[in-house]
């Protein structure tokens, strides 16, 4: 059997382009022979972006507060549910089994996402930089997963571009920043007008 052209790098994740889920697309990353393929899928169409290993300049993983925010939201929703269960369990008289099951199901709706959110680890935004663009890789939303993907990408990019030691980067970055000087447009000489007669239009001295 022929080897597939693309190997999966990340699982499919939802990328929301708007406030509503109807505009959400699913995004995933795939490894090609000489490039990284990003697929944005609506289910009926797919959009592709190719990042050739020889063109990738940098990959940035930046931690964010998304996990903490979701933890707070889920905990705020979970506390009343836990209170509800505790009230039923410790109240005088036999607890209604049906109500207990209902409250358990409702509690699990918030408890399971809370556990999963913390099991997956810290959240992040991941960016890929080329000479012409900086693209967010939405499918890499957890630091641990992003680091795993980076570990797979690193040797492929190094194979296409060569190695770069961490010690030489600062000096080369400074040199690069100094090389690019801002281009200032030459200022045109202001035109001088002679006004001898206040009623006549302005005239050039020559």
């Amino acid at each position: 059997m022929a080897e597939p052209e693309y190997r999966r790098l990340t699982k499919t994740r939802v990328r929301r382009k708007g406030a509503f889920a109807i505009t959400a697309t699913r995004t995933s990353l795939w490894l090609g022979n000489d490039h990284l393929l990003s697929i944005d899928s609506t289910g009926y169409t797919e959009e592709y972006k190719r990042f050739y290993f020889r063109d990738i300049q940098a990959i940035t993983i930046c931690g964010n507060q998304r996990r903490v925010v979701w933890n707070w939201i889920l905990m705020v929703l979970l506390i009343p549910c836990l209170t509800w269960i505790a009230t039923m369990l410790f109240s005088a008289g036999a607890a209604d089994v049906g109500l207990l099951i209902t409250s358990g199901v409702v509690t699990s709706l918030f408890a399971i996402p809370l556990i999963v959110n913390n099991l997956f680890g810290a959240t992040c935004n991941c960016y890929l930089r080329t000479a012409v663009q900086v693209v967010e890789l939405a499918s890499l939303s957890r630091i641990r997963r992003a680091q795993k993907a980076l570990a797979r990408l690193r040797p492929l990019i190094a194979g296409a571009q060569g190695e770069l030691s961490a010690e030489e980067i600062p000096a080369r970055l400074r040199a690069l920043a100094q090389d690019v000087k801002p281009v200032v447009a030459p200022q045109s000489k202001p035109e001088i007008f002679v006004i001898d007669d206040p009623n006549s239009p302005p005239q050039s001295p020559h």
Partner: protein, 193 residues
Amino acid sequence: MTAPTIQCPKCHASLFEGVFNRTDPVPCPACQRPLQIEVFPALFRKMASGNTGELILTEGEAACFYHPQKKAVLPCESCGRFVCGLCDCELNGRHFCPSCLEAGKTKGKIKNLENRRTLYDSLALSLSLLPLLIFYFTVITAPMALFISIRYWSAPRSLIHRTKVRFIFAILFSSLQIVGWGIGIYFLVSNHG
């Protein structure tokens, strides 16, 4: 074009040392947000200047198809026309003229230029399954699903490996719906008759 320096995505402070090619995230010196930045040699590579093409100096030299006054440097790998340095479009080591490159993109002949595909197999399967929720719609959607399945049977599917199983199921379900409607209409007509 992107800025020549690496910046923190959050606070946009220019970063020069301490955060590059580490194994674990380190706080950004400006905003303290955890950062892990992997820098590759392409960042320091100079952008290649574009070739404008040489003018023909001696008579009898091959000229560019698009610029008769310029010297041809190689033939297009698709159409064979001679092109000058200005018209030579290189893509993964292959050389094309601008019109072949454009045609390759619009007609999908050059796979690496394709940036969008319609998944007709998913469309056909959805058309054959989703309208079952409101059964009466299937009288329209079942023939549509069957038509799409047959019309786009050979159309390119997703770039990532995908089989024709969606088309097969779409044909199966839509055919069953059409047969169901046929039997229903037959019984209606025969009962009234």
